[in-house]
């Protein structure tokens, strides 16, 4: 079966000017990333700050123009789309951002925020759009009489629900959740994650779940890819990868996650960046489990 999203050799280099007399340096934020997500999957992309996971997400939607590579959505390379076609494609691919405080326009009523994508894409009459917004509010667990309020009147968790409602307005197939629950308290985080999982089943969504929280990804994602300095160093079924991490970076990362039991012996593995070949290609070390070792 053809995957819903097929990312191939995605590259994003940023050129950093270093003053008048020095040659500009190149930051390889995304350095040849490939992965595929099947329809209905929740795919986790994990890594630490600077690993390139967010840039990857943004390149897929062309919020940042990638330097090279292919992003096949239902078989078509979105990187070759004209502007009008890209706009159309974005109906199918939406993003939920990390910060519920800065991603909602503070001067717009939340009903208008959620309606805006429908307006931009000229969908439905005013009345139909209003009905759709009410439906979306119900879907994410917000009350219809909140529609006329402003973002500051909501808590972080509620704001993230508004962000999700906005992302769902156009009935997308793919949601890119970029650290969508990272800023939330743990109990609120659990509620929003539960909502996202419910919506996935109900609306047949596919997720690219970008996160730094390994425990969270382990719990909700079927497959996962680990990024380190712009490259995927390991990918596979979540359970297998967490049980038998093969790449030194994955091992160090997993060993750094605090354990909830004070009596579990800690086996911290330090990463020695010189101990592995950063250019090693991914190879299949077990069925469906790939590592750059």
């Amino acid at each position: 079966m053809r995957p819903l999203l097929d990312v191939r050799h995605l590259v994003k280099h940023f050129v950093r000017k270093q003053g008048l007399f020095r040659a500009p340096s190149i930051v390889k934020a995304v350095d040849g990333v490939s992965f595929a997500i099947e329809e209905g999957e929740m795919f986790g992309l994990v890594g630490e700050s600077g690993s390139g996971k967010s840039t990857t997400g943004r390149c897929i939607l062309r919020l940042i123009e990638p330097s090279s590579g292919e992003v096949l959505f239902r078989g078509d390379n979105v990187l070759e789309f004209s502007r009008p076609r890209m706009r159309l494609a974005r109906r199918d691919m939406q993003i939920v951002f990390q910060d519920p405080y800065s991603s909602l326009n503070p001067r717009m009523r939340v009903g208008d925020i959620v309606e805006e994508p429908l307006v931009i894409h000229k969908l439905g009459t005013k009345a139909e759009r209003r009905a759709r917004v009410a439906e979306l509010f119900a879907l994410v667990g917000l009350e219809a009489d909140h529609l006329a309020r402003y973002p500051h009147e909501f808590s972080g968790g509620q704001r993230q629900r508004i962000g999700i409602a906005r992302a769902l307005a156009l009935n997308p197939a793919l949601i890119i959740a970029d650290e969508a629950v990272s800023a939330l308290d743990v109990s609120i985080q659990a509620q929003v994650v539960r909502l996202m999982v419910e919506l996935k089943d109900r609306l047949k969504l596919t997720y690219l779940f970008i996160a730094h929280d390994l425990r969270l990804v382990e719990n909700i994602c079927t497959r996962v890819a680990v990024m380190y300095l712009g490259k995927i160093v390991e990918t596979g079924e979540t359970r297998a990868l967490f049980a038998r991490p093969a790449h030194p970076y994955t091992r160090a990362l997993l060993s750094a996650v605090p354990v909830l039991d004070p009596d579990t012996p800690r086996q911290r593995l330090e990463l020695d960046p010189d101990a592995f070949d950063r250019d090693a290609p991914l190879r299949e070390i077990a069925a469906g489990h790939w590592a750059a070792v």
């Binding site: 109990s187 390994l214 605090p258």
Partner: protein, 264 residues
């Protein structure tokens, strides 16, 4: 029995509002013995940071202490003059913040910031303070400390900045450190290193730590005892194993249940 190093009794903090006062810390009592780490855990708005600020008497209006007593080393901090309090802050009780980039002075070399802590409290001056700064950077495992003392904060990584904060906090060898979300802004591998460092320094200096965090993982790694805060009040406190394995209060249970991969 030796009295506890820090003894907080019925501490209450209110924030005066235009219509009503909000009780941010509600009759909170706990003790910390010398060398002990107490984890104060709760979600945003629970009052855990306000508690720390109240102990150090750093609350800004409209916040004010409305009741209770805070004994440190036998003295009631709430009864001290501001001048006496200044001699305690940084020297006897020091504070490590979450965000080293905002807590450090961006236009001052890190060595000078450590030396300043020593100078302010009259512990060392001039070349001696500078030498001490190098020693402290070594103590927090910063490689090439002789060179790094001359760096500005922006030249350091997030993990190194947090180590500098810890060095400043330890400069006067205080018996008590209050660490407010010390690793929350750090990547998980860097967090592991900083926690490891804190554990070593704790043993080496016999430090008592009031560790404020929202993360039960950090609690499990660091704390001897845990106090759980919810809406300004302590709902439960006890030894770390008891709280993690057999939480008595519904809120603690729900908090633990919300952790991905945590307790059911």
């Amino acid at each position: 029995m030796t009295p506890p190093l820090l003894d907080v009794q019925h501490l209450t903090v209110v924030f005066e509002g235009p219509r009503a006062a909000l009780t941010a810390v509600d009759d909170v009592s706990f003790q910390i013995a010398q060398g002990e780490t107490l984890g104060l855990v709760g979600e945003s708005g629970s009052g855990k940071s306000v508690t720390a600020f109240a102990i150090l008497r750093l609350l800004q209006p409209p916040g004010r202490i409305n009741g209770g007593r805070v004994f440190f080393d036998g003295r009631d901090l709430l009864a001290l003059s501001e001048r006496e309090m200044r001699a305690i802050r940084g020297a006897r009780i020091s504070l490590i913040f979450q965000e080293p980039m905002t807590a450090l002075n961006p236009v001052m070399r890190v060595g000078d910031q450590i030396a300043e802590a020593l100078r302010v409290h009259g512990l060392a001056t001039g070349a001696e303070a500078q030498n001490r700064a190098v020693e402290l950077l070594r103590a927090v495992r910063i490689a090439d400390a002789e060179r790094r003392v001359r760096d500005y904060p922006h030249q350091l990584s997030g993990g190194m900045r947090q180590r500098v904060m810890i060095a400043i906090a330890l400069a006067c060898q205080p018996p008590l450190v209050i660490a407010d979300e010390p690793t929350t802004a750090l990547d998980v591998t860097i967090q592991a290193q900083v926690l490891e460092l804190l554990r070593e320094l704790k043993a080496q200096y016999r430090l008592a730590v009031l560790l404020i965090t929202h993360d039960f993982g950090v609690i499990a790694e660091m704390a001897d005892r845990v106090a759980v805060m919810y809406k300004g009040a302590l709902v439960e406190q006890g030894p770390v194993r008891q709280i993690l394995r057999a939480p008595a209060h519904d809120y603690t249970r729900s908090l633990l249940a919300a952790i991905p991969g945590g307790r059911r």
